[in-house]
Amino acid sequence: MSATLDYGLIEQVARDLYIRALKELPSDVLGALRRAHEKESNPTARTILQTILRSIETSQENGLIICQDTGLPVYVITVGDRFPLDGYRLRQALTEGAKRATLEHPFRGSSAHPLTRENPQTSVGYGLPVIHWDFVPEADYLDILMVPKGSGSENMSSMQMFTPADGVAALKKFVIDKVVHSGGNPCPPGIIGVGIGGTFDSVGVLAKKAICRPLGTRNSDPAFAEMEEELEEAINSSGIGPMGLGGDTTTLGVHIEWSYTHITQNPVAVNTQCWAARRARARIWLDGRVEHGI
């Protein structure tokens, strides 16, 4: 158990994951886009979905990144209880990895100072990358999930503090209205991530984790799984469609993550993800093995 962790390796993995996420769409997302194209009845929407599929292919054939918005880097970290970790050094490695991906590929850095709008062209800066943590028992590995989050969809995200008196219906209405009012802005059809419960700050993280879940999965709690299905049906029957120009497919999937909350409150957050729902994952074992794409 005295093995020392190679933080240089973690930095390399963080770099490679960013570039891989920008170039390879996850198979569940690609599959969902293909199915949406097959069943779409609106001719404009069919053209749009076909163009999306053609563009993904063109990017692959020419080694191009999928979308020019390389986003802000978000890393979701899962640490096994038997994996000895220096959190500070991990953060340094992720930051350096994201920066190196930007400079070495190279691609446009999209991070900016909120007041001066200065862009360091590194994709990082004070407070970036965004890092979320989770911990699992009986595991001797570290999981790194990398999500480049584009702004067209992120800008359409929203949260609201509801109260118990508003009921569950208010949460559903909030999600449906948000998606309908966003129209074509978030580049639909993508993933609608919903956070329910927790506090003001944690509900947004829940919504972010919800967009990270592969399409085709459901929340393990039957009540929330049912709500996911309901919201999908509601959103897709609105007819907003691909790029907001009408059609059967407005979302590829609604995902909910939740936690307990206060007796007086019921927060909800919507994190919108575009059709280019990019993410890449790797698992690092204590002996230095790296397993990509798990």
């Binding site: 404009t44 053209t47 053609r54 563009s55 990017s59 074509g184 790029m243 120009l245």
Partner: protein, 197 residues
């Protein structure tokens, strides 16, 4: 729904012949501009060094690499138009732009200018930057390079598209029509899902 291949420059008659839902591809030249470019023109009163008369503008998001004097494409995509709505009527009236290519559409004032002067909004497929990049043959010139990545990009394109005519010169907006239809469906959707207020 009709399919059109357009050759630039575009004239008023051509633009008035298009209807929302039509699909177009473009051959010739288009100009990439975005937020800062238009702030420079309209808020700072700087005259653009090239004429847009008869050309489409693209709300562009370019990633380029300058190798000696040549601007090479890394990846070129399209950004959200709604942010740039306030510049558009004057862009059409004063600078003779015939088409705006972007994503997510524009609002009423822009639509009125399109109707008055004969211009259209072409919706590109947002995020489909791989295809868009390959349909741009060359970044011929970059005007106001100090504003890069928000300069003026003269782009030569082939079979650029497919683009959807989403706002036309007859005062029609597909975005608005879709939004209205969705609003009309909401009461029934709420009812189905037990949403009563």
């Amino acid at each position: 729904m009709a399919l059109h291949n357009l050759q630039t420059p575009l004239d008023e008659d051509t633009m008035r012949s298009l209807t929302v839902g039509d699909q177009v591809t473009i051959d010739g030249h288009i100009f990439g501009i975005r937020d800062k470019t238009q702030i420079e023109i309209f808020d700072h009163g700087k005259e653009p060094p090239v004429s847009f008369e008869g050309y489409p503008v693209l709300h562009t998001a370019p990633s380029l690499r300058k190798v000696s004097d040549v601007w090479e494409k890394v990846i070129i995509g399209t950004t959200t138009s709604t942010r740039m709505d306030r510049f558009t009527p004057e862009l059409i009236e004063k600078y003779g732009v015939r088409a705006i290519i972007g994503k997510a559409g524009l609002y009423e004032g822009s639509l009125a200018a399109m109707q008055k002067f004969g211009a259209c909004y072409f919706a590109i497929v947002g995020g489909a930057a791989g295809l868009e990049t390959m349909q741009i043959d060359e970044v011929e010139k970059v005007y106001w390079p100090h504003l890069h990545p928000e300069a003026i990009y003269q782009l030569r394109v082939s079979a650029f598209g497919p683009l959807i005519v989403a706002m036309d010169a007859h005062g029609q907006s597909l975005y608005e029509a879709v939004r209205q239809r969705a609003s009309g469906k909401l009461p029934e959707i709420y009812r189905r899902h037990g949403i009563t207020k």
